[in-house]
Amino acid sequence: MADFLAGLINAVWWQDYAAPLLAIVIYCLLITVPILLSVAYLTLAERKVIGWMQYRKGPNVVGPFGLLQPLADGLKLFLKETIIPSGSNRALFVIAPALTFILALIAWAVIPFGEGMVLADINVGILYLFAISSLGVYGIVIAGWASNSKYAFLGALRSAAQMVSYEVSMGLVIVTVLIFTNSLNLSDIVRYQQENMWFVIPLLPMFVVFYISILAETNRAPFDLPEAEAELVSGYNVEYSSMTFALFFLGEYANMILMSGMATTLFLGGWLPPFDIAPLNMIPGPIWFALKTALMLFGFLWVRATFPRYRYDQLMRLGWKVFLPFTLLCVFLYAGIAVYGGFLAG
């Protein structure tokens, strides 16, 4: 028996294929489960924070301080009936929410949570993130088209135009960061900030542009035109119910967390403590990463409680006529500073 087990463990297929596969599955679970928990509690945090900002209490009935509210919401959505409209394109109608949700999760593979704590430490990490976030528009467009509904379609078209517009300035902001780090690897970007300083200080204007762009990219207020309740009912997801709706909802919030994580990695020094001194650098990296991401997320909620919604033409004007020329100018400016100031790495 022992021989058999030893033979099994030493077998080629186990060492070469099964063991790495098992390890990857465990890593994936270690990343996904906390993210899904954060998504659940982000929805509660949103309602609580906006409640406090408006002199209300927010959800406080289910569990102590309303802490069980996300569970109750999830259970409610899970138990409802999934309705597929008769005029819809059935296959695409079901694929769209799943796509949104999957894309929001697979991007986490390259985010470094700490020194060496990353699932896939690939050379082109930042491009991978950018590629995945640019795919997010498909879930929404397909949902809008497959629903066969005017409101859903209009919401989807708005969203597609909006996401494509703001991706351009986001890309240029990322380029300014890359000019200094000379690497597309996210861990290298954080290490560069460890040796020098967090990018939020020298690249503050770029950070502001990036933050506003990720608000638009995740369809959040004040750029939540795709789901403008007043005019489009609720935009692209108007025909969705039950779990299909829940997947959109989860995907949207997971995307918010992802984008905040991306901003943290690029500008706020990822897993690094603010100062490399005794009590601060004893706290492990993932906790710093989570704290900074939470700070970014609080900004999302704060903005939503504060600003009115943009008009659509103003949104397009901001993206194409303000951010694009500004970021383009900054790319040249920072490239000049990097070359003549001797800041180029490597």
Binding site: N123, V124, L127, Y138, V141, V164, N185
Partner: protein, 204 residues
């Protein structure tokens, strides 16, 4: 072994998607299959170790170009019977174009010679480790030092195409009311806003 399996998976899906693009009845489905084909082609690039090109393919083609395709195709009101009517009439022209393309492809591939120096570099098939020279860096060195004029030239061509498209579609109309943001910001608050103290129950 895994790499071979993955290669065949990507290759088969790419070809199947290409086939579905031209046979799907619904044009939106065609575009979606095209997107899937792009995606699998990116996977093939990744297997060859061309990680940068693979990601750029996804960002540019899938993330931007195909979105615009989808945008346009979804808005079209296509009548399928109308489209199928001229099929026999246009078949000879279509076949002729296809034949010319096939012959051209054959001549290219039979006359293709790969530089021996390149073959030796190409030996590694998997994605290189993070410590080795990245192919992003290699491409950057190549494009911005040896091929900088060609690169600038292609940029100019794209710029011209963009200017051309804007010139063709731009029309100035009279009587359109436009929001002038600078004018709005430049207005002095003293002229536009009046602070009034209202006694309770009094009104203005």
């Amino acid at each position: 072994m895994i790499q071979t399996l993955v290669f065949y998976m990507f290759a088969i899906i790419t070809i199947a998607c290409g086939f579905m693009v031209i046979t799907a009845r619904n044009p939106v489905h065609s575009v979606l299959f095209l997107i899937l084909a792009f995606f699998n082609a990116a996977g093939l690039f990744l297997l060859q170790g061309a990680e940068f090109i693979s990601m750029i393919l996804v960002i540019v083609y899938v993330g931007a170009v195909a979105v615009l395709f989808l945008f346009v195709v979804m808005m079209l009101d296509v009548n399928l019977n109308e489209m199928r009517r001229g099929f026999v009439k246009y078949l000879p022209i279509g076949l002729a174009v296809g034949a010319v393309l096939l012959v051209e492809l054959f001549t290219i591939f039979t006359a293709w010679v790969v530089e021996p120096a390149v073959i030796s570099v190409n030996a590694a098939t998997a994605t290189p480790a993070a410590s080795e020279v990245h192919n992003t860096e290699a491409l950057g060195n190549l494009i911005y030092t040896h091929y900088v004029y060609l690169f600038m030239g292609s940029g100019m061509v794209l710029l011209l195409a963009m200017v051309g498209a804007i010139v063709l579609t731009l029309r100035s109309r009279d009587g359109v009311k436009k929001q002038r943001i600078m004018d709005q910001i430049a207005r002095p608050a003293s002229e536009e806003v009046e602070l009034v103290k209202v006694s309770s129950g009094g009104g203005i």
